[in-house]
Amino acid sequence: MPRHPLLSFLAALVVIAGLPCALAQKYSTADQVMDAVDARPVPADLVSTMTMTITAKSGQSLTRSMDIWSAGDGDRQVIKFTAPADIKGSGFLSITMPDGATQSMIYLPALDRTRRIAGSQKQEAFFGSDFSYEDISDLQSGTRKDYVSELLKVEPGPVYVVQSTPKAGAETSYQKLVLEIPEATLLPRRIEFYRNGALLKVMTIGETTKVGDYVLPSELRMETVARGSSTTIRQSDFAVDKAIPDEVFSERFLRR
């Protein structure tokens, strides 16, 4: 059935009228984009529960549950496992010091001891997942302060594709990151992690949750490209700006 000429005209008008909006972009440099990402409102502190599903290439999966406390734009973070039973009580503490150095330790209840983590150990898998300790430490950070960014291209949306390379002396094991940042949310929707010249992992943010003035990622998926495995983190039960006591970010609380 032929379409009515008026309908075709209106449809064309909508498309033409929409084009400038789709192509218009607020930012022309990577620094502007990252500044805008930095300026996005983030909570002073955050409490949430996480469910981590680790899926092998074969499709078999394991699940871990944990509670997370985070403050200072992710500069202080505590994670405590609540399930499964064999790792319940294990915990991870990460504190970024004023000089930029990060101190991290894990608590293993079976050994009744905490262990400090060296810089080289931060690339180890976080309790068997596709996330590393380094990834987890940076999870709640608003942006990556240790990187120099370059705008590679702008995709329809607009979505900014930014390449970030670490500054000299930065505490990271990655050679570069490539981020896709929609202008509408200013929350990276996809991050590629490169090491030794190869694409190592890809993280995608599937869903977000609006809590007060904040848009928070509620589903993140990290895929290890060569291994074909992936880990999906689902965050829920968000509580923001609750003035978490300083005592929470301590070895004492980790063991408690």
């Binding site: 092998a56 399930a83 499964p84 319940k88 009744d112 060296a118 068997g128 300083d246 929470v248 408690r256």
Partner: protein, 419 residues
């Protein structure tokens, strides 16, 4: 009427307390089967641990917490069966102080596997090659940990009111009994062995053990701390000596092994520093016994143990440690029998996937050329369900430290379900 009011008040208090108390049940079942190179079955056991734990109080920082375990185990290979209390303690959080009372494990030290300062708990040495962290036996203690976050200082005080000895190694791990250096009078012959005299220290004030440890947060590089420790205690493994017991027949005696437990004072220090490249750990302790001159064979001689360790993670994701271990025991008076042993321990740990973990450890004693290899694999079948394969291979000449256990080289397979 007064009784009714009192009962109502009690119920009200219990109700209030119950409303603020969390309660969790959990535990673990474990089945282990082992086979040694000499064809014997050293273990065929099944065990169950039931655990109850929880917090008292509300909010993210509760007022107190508690944990109690009931452990049951049956080993068909040895015919042994027992049910006992594992950990059973309560922790009260009083401002900056944690007060922990009950049957517990208190670990002091910083290095892996070999810890000169880790002397507070007795050990289950029935399988001496077991992971040291699995050998600690919970023991009654009163412990206070004071946290001074502002100054980065932590003080740890421990009181062990009642002595408990370590579980001795199973028969197949014990050295052959010998008369040692006993001087027999002329015309006297040993005609047999009397039952062992175990001089376990009684539960009395003079046998109360105690210790203190101070830890300072160094705030350097990617984190570090240093500690000093002191323990006034009793060795949980006995010093073995022998005495002659007369029989009714003149000139004939029985040889009686004597197990005595040395009083000691231990002074220790440890430190760890994390850098971008590695974590460095060190731990050392000197033990003063009540026989500094080495004159009494029933009391062990003073000595020290020191460990230096470096841990690094490689680009492949595997992590490894390398430890150097020095142990020295002073000589008996007038003798040239001081013992110094220098060992190295290398470990590698690799998580091939979320399910499969491979580990290996190699311990070599340079003093006598003996050692131990420990490859181990863990596979997680499902959440909380894992299988373990653990091989222990001993090598060395007869009479050497680990060579004496050559025939005990063995493979152990376990299935564990944590719930």
């Amino acid at each position: 009427m007064r009784r009714i009011v009192a009962t109502l008040l009690l119920l009200a208090l219990v109700g209030q307390s119950a409303a603020q108390t969390t309660f969790q049940l959990g535990g673990e079942t474990r089945a282990t089967f082992g086979v040694a190179v000499d064809g014997t079955l050293p273990v065929a056991s099944a065990g169950l641990t039931l655990r109850v734990s929880g917090d008292v109080g509300s909010g993210v920082l509760p007022d107190a917490s508690y944990e109690a375990e009931l452990v049951a185990r049956y080993d068909a290979a040895t015919g042994s069966a027992d049910v006992h209390l594992g950990k059973a303690f309560a922790t009260v959080y009083l401002g900056d102080t944690d007060l922990i009372v009950g049957q517990q494990i208190a670990f002091w030290g910083t290095t892996d596997a070999v810890n000169p300062e880790d002397v507070l708990n007795p050990r289950d040495l029935s399988y001496p090659a077991a992971d040291p962290s699995e050998q600690r036996i919970p023991t009654p203690m009163i412990r206070a940990i004071v946290h001074d976050r502002a100054d980065g200082v932590k003080l740890d005080f421990v009181l062990v009111p009642v002595f408990r000895a370590s579980e001795p190694p199973a028969a197949r791990w014990q050295p052959a009994a010998a008369a040692g250096d006993l001087q027999l009078p002329a015309g006297v012959v040993i005609v047999g062995q009397a039952s062992t005299l175990d001089e376990v220290p009684a539960a009395e004030l003079g046998n109360v053990q105690f210790g203190a440890r101070a830890t300072l947060d160094l705030g350097v590089l990617s984190g570090g701390e240093a500690s000093l420790a002191y323990v006034h205690g009793i060795r949980t493994t006995p010093t073995v000596s022998a005495q002659l017991v007369p029989t009714q027949t003149p000139g004939q005696v029985l040889l009686q092994p004597v197990l005595s437990y040395d009083r000691y004072d231990l002074v220790g220090a440890d430190a760890s520093v994390a850098t971008d490249w590695a974590v460095f750990r060190g731990e050392a302790a000197y033990t003063f016994t009540h026989d500094p001159a080495g004159t009494d064979p029933a009391i062990g001689n003073p000595g020290f143990q020191a460990v230096l360790e470096v841990e690094h993670t490689f680009d492949s994701g595997a992590s490894g440690t390398l430890e150097g271990i020095v142990e020295h025991t002073n000589a008996d008076q007038g003798q040239d029998n001081a013992v110094t042993a220098v060992s190295a321990l290398a470990t590698i740990h690799y998580e091939a996937s979320a399910r499969l973990t491979a580990e290996a450890a190699w311990l070599h004693d340079f003093s006598d050329g003996s050692g131990m290899l420990r490859p181990r694999m863990t596979y997680t079948f499902a959440d909380g369900v894992r299988g373990e394969a653990d091989l222990a291979v001993f090598y060395g000449r007869d009479g050497s430290r680990y060579g004496a256990w050559r025939d005990n080289s063995q493979l152990r397979l376990s299935l564990v379900y944590a719930f």
